[in-house]
């Protein structure tokens, strides 16, 4: 054990909260060898980030290491004080955070921020530090490093900001790098570039890395060893190949099953027992639409220009039949959110028309659309469940809201019945209805959001990244729920997402958007298996799969 660069022995971390002490980490034992990249995988609340923060001694003041040792080069990190601690933080080990834009100082040029990091640990002149900062910008492959030295964080994209964070983290050549969800919130293609860069730098400089992530595919692609955490404990530790090929622990099995892959089907996402309950429903497949029925939705040459004149969306056309599911994929800035909001009639298009059930609704101003008879037929599920529920409404109020506004129900027995029926359809326990959003978990909030959207029995449901903020196991359940709703109630789904694996599974057809225009569209499976354009191919290749990952593991 003593040879390991970092060895964590039986670590316990507790947080003092209003309801007493809460144990976030309960007995983690972990070793990291020099130069190795270790994946620490788990869902939110599993204690993976807390372990990382405890190792770098960056725990919140409410948190305390209650037992165990963290030995870094044989020295117990938990006992370090003063100068020894400062030597450790940043110089011997450093951390990369989830949101790079928030971690950078917004009013200081990035070159200076990198130089600052160097100057806190090395006694060199300012000019020398600037020169080193420039070298680091080159090392993280930022184009035109001389000019970028004077750029401010808001002038850079998210991926660029993360590169700057990496530059700061490696500025003092630490022996250990802890990357806490370094690519969450970045597009798949950017994620691949940043992770490749991080892996190359770590390998070239012989740095050990702990990659903390919720994404099994990502960990499998870059790590040779993965530790899976649940409820503050490590439940399994193995190479990606064994972990995904033959998971031993029940939790790992569930996690592996819930992660969508290139070949998985909706029904594969949960264990067989859970699926059986829905099996009856699956069997009655939707009959194909009778020939000659008009499409549910027809979008003709839709365009949206904002005040500055740049087009967010241009020449967007599509049709959807009742009960069909269509995926809308693209990177951030591709115009997919703008398009979905235009179809949902929350914002007005600059050009083009939207025809719903044979009636033009594109020319009804969005400010008046709340009075349209189609308002209840087109509903939306919003991206972040944490932000899509009114903080002053209980779950009941949220679901009752459309019923009162759009279906004309009044407070009373019938409203109660309808709300409870909706809650049951999305699998939300009825005793949660009186709760406020902050008293619900992410998955429960997502269910409330879906229950609200289906309360008035819409014909078209627009889903804006409904699972992006959810854990994979929760995502699996939500996806199944959506699929079931589509089959049972014949609701058409327009699924906006950047997660191609999810779209492939859930959607009959897929439309790929880039810079506001359609790049490619077609039947989902064909489109992903055999992309026709370079852009789609790049998107598909960037998805981390654990089938492609163990290439590294087998090379060992």
């Amino acid at each position: 054990m003593s040879q390991s660069l970092l060895s964590i022995e039986d670590l316990h971390v507790s947080f003092s909260t209003r309801r007493g002490m809460v144990e976030a980490v309960r007995g983690v034992t972990l070793a990291v060898e020099a130069g190795e990249m270790l994946g620490l995988v788990g869902e939110s609340g599993s204690g993976k980030s807390v372990t990382g923060f405890a190792t770098t001694r960056l725990l919140d003041t409410a948190g305390r290491v209650t037992a165990g040792k963290i030995l870094f080069r044989g020295q117990d990190v938990t006992k370090l004080r003063g100068d020894d601690l400062r030597q450790l933080q940043g110089a011997a080990m450093s951390m990369i955070f989830q949101n790079p834009r928030a971690a950078l100082n917004p009013i200081r040029a990035i070159g200076l921020q990198i130089a600052d990091a160097i100057l806190t640990h090395k006694r060199i002149s300012k000019d020398a530090a600037r020169a080193e900062a420039l070298d680091l910008l080159r090392a993280v492959q930022i184009r035109d490093p001389e000019q970028r030295m004077n750029a401010y964080p808001h002038e850079l994209s998210g991926g660029m900001c993360q590169r700057v964070m990496i530059a700061i983290a490696i500025s003092c050549n630490p022996a250990l790098l802890i990357a806490d969800e370094p690519t969450t919130g970045l597009d798949v293609t950017t994620q691949k570039v940043v992770m490749d860069l991080l892996a190359d730098i770590a390998a070239a400089r012989g740095m050990a890395t702990i990659l903390i992530t919720h994404d099994l595919g990502l960990a499998a692609r870059y790590c040779r060893r993965i530790a899976v955490m649940e409820h503050g404990r490590i439940v399994e530790e193995a190479s990606p190949k064994t972990l995904f090929g033959a998971p031993r622990h029940a939790y790992t099995k569930r996690l592996v099953a819930a992660s969508p892959t290139a070949t998985s089907r909706i029904e594969d996402l949960v264990t067989a027992e859970e699926w059986e309950r829905h099996a009856a429903v699956v069997s009655n497949a939707r009959p194909p639409a009778a020939h000659g029925t008009p499409p549910l939705l027809e979008v003709r040459k839709l365009a949206k220009r904002f005040d500055q004149g740049s087009a967010a969306v241009a020449d967007f056309s599509m049709t959807m039949a009742g009960g069909e599911s269509v995926g809308l994929v693209g990177e951030s800035g591709s115009g997919k959110s703008t398009t979905s909001r235009m179809i949902c009639r929350l914002i007005d298009p600059s050009e083009g028309d939207i025809v719903f059930e044979g009636q033009s609704i594109g020319h009804v101003a969005s400010r008046d659309f709340h009075r349209s008879r189609f308002r209840k037929d087109i509903q939306m599920v919003f991206q972040d469940p944490n932000e899509s529920l009114n903080p002053r409404f209980t779950a009941f109020d949220c679901i009752a809201h459309p019923l009162m506004r759009l279906a004309g129900l009044r407070a009373g027995k019938e409203l109660w019945q309808r709300v409870e029926e909706c809650a049951e359809r999305v699998g939300l326990p009825l005793d949660l209805l009186p709760r406020f959003p902050h008293q619900l978990s992410g998955g429960q909030k997502a269910r409330v959001g879906i229950a609200r959207a289906i309360a008035c029995r819409p014909r078209l449901l627009v889903l804006d990244e409904p699972t992006a903020a959810l854990d994979v196991s929760v995502q699996a359940v939500v996806l199944q729920l959506l699929d079931r709703l589509r089959r049972e109630n014949d609701i058409a789904l327009l699924f906006v997402s950047h997660d191609l694996n999810v779209v492939r599974m859930l959607c009959d057809r897929t439309i790929v958007l880039r810079n506001g225009g359609i790049v490619e569209q077609g039947e989902s499976r064909a489109l992903f298996d055999n992309p026709k354009t370079d852009y789609t191919r790049k998107l598909v290749e960037a998805i981390p799969h654990f089938e492609s990952g163990p290439a590294m593991a087998t090379a060992l």
């Binding site: 709340h370 009075r371 919003f382 991206q383 009114n390 459309p402 759009l406 609200r452």
Partner: protein, 282 residues
């Protein structure tokens, strides 16, 4: 107030003794303002020259003034007037400011810019001088003090509501409310306004203290409430003449009353935010 809110309030107060003290203080001021006439030992306006300028004693715990009136009785009676001026002035500026600011913050565009510039211009004036000018022009009456105080408070509420609504206008639940069939108008009034109330409550509490000071200040310089009506500002102004001869109690007690009122309202502000914000409940 439901029992959950009550329990939550008690929890907040227990964790914040300072807020508890401030809340008690404010409650005390309010009780005094309501029940003042029944608890005063002497008539606050009837003069009794034989007992003029007596120092604090058992009979007159805060002493007597130059006309022999009991200072403590006058302080107690003044609480009602001072609080009434402050509460109505702040109430008016809150109602107008929150509504105007919310709509500006939600709509953006030309209206927002126009109102924003108007507020900037108002804030460029020394606000107390503006209030003085208004009372002088409109006439020396209590309702004019209220109007003047309300107007000089207005810019803060407009700005505050505008900023608070602006950060929430594109949030998911606002769009969701629109998808549920709400018009822009009702989204602002029924969804955004209730959500910015916790933050506004802090502003209200801080402002109440400031409004009390403002009303007292106007009276102090002779604009506003006229003698012999008991009012903290006038009492300080009248007592100031006697401070050089060592009659400190004429100034000290009304000054202390003012200070305590302002302090209590300010301290209460932060505690109130915690109580009203549903997210702080677990």
């Amino acid at each position: 107030m439901t029992s959950a809110t009550l329990r939550h309030s008690v929890w907040i107060l227990r964790g914040n003794p300072l807020t508890a003290v401030a809340a008690t203080g404010v409650l005390l001021f309010v009780l005094v303002a309501i029940f003042g006439p029944w608890i005063v030992p002497y008539d606050p306006v009837v003069s009794n020259v034989s007992e003029a300028l007596l120092p604090p004693s058992a009979a007159h715990i805060a002493g007597t003034d130059q006309l022999g009136r009991d200072v403590f009785s006058r302080l107690v009676i003044a609480a009602r007037l001072d609080l009434a001026i402050a509460v109505s002035a702040v109430g008016i500026s809150f109602l107008i400011g929150a509504v105007v600011g919310s709509f500006c913050g939600y709509a953006g565009g030309k209206l927002d810019r126009a109102v924003g510039r108007f507020v900037d211009v108002m804030m460029a004036f020394p606000l107390f001088v503006l209030a003085m000018a208004m009372v002088a022009a409109l006439g020396n009456r209590i309702e004019n003090i209220v109007i003047a105080t309300a107007i000089i408070n207005l810019p803060f509420y407009i700005r505050f509501a505008r900023a608070e609504v602006n950060v929430r206008r594109n949030v998911g639940w606002v769009e969701a409310a629109r998808a549920c069939g709400e018009s822009h108008f009702s989204v602002v009034l029924r969804f955004l306004l209730p959500n910015i109330l916790p933050a506004m409550a802090v502003q209200i509490s801080l402002n109440l203290g400031w409004a009390i000071l403002n009303a007292a200040g106007l009276s102090f310089i002779g604009l506003g409430v006229k003698p012999p009506t008991p009012e903290w500002g006038i009492m300080v102004a009248e007592g100031a003449r006697f401070i050089s001869t060592g009659r400190w109690w004429l100034v000290a007690f009304p000054g202390l009353a003012l200070m305590m009122a302002v302090l209590c309202f300010n301290l209460l502000g932060d505690g109130m935010r915690d109580i009203l914000d549903p997210r702080m409940r677990t």
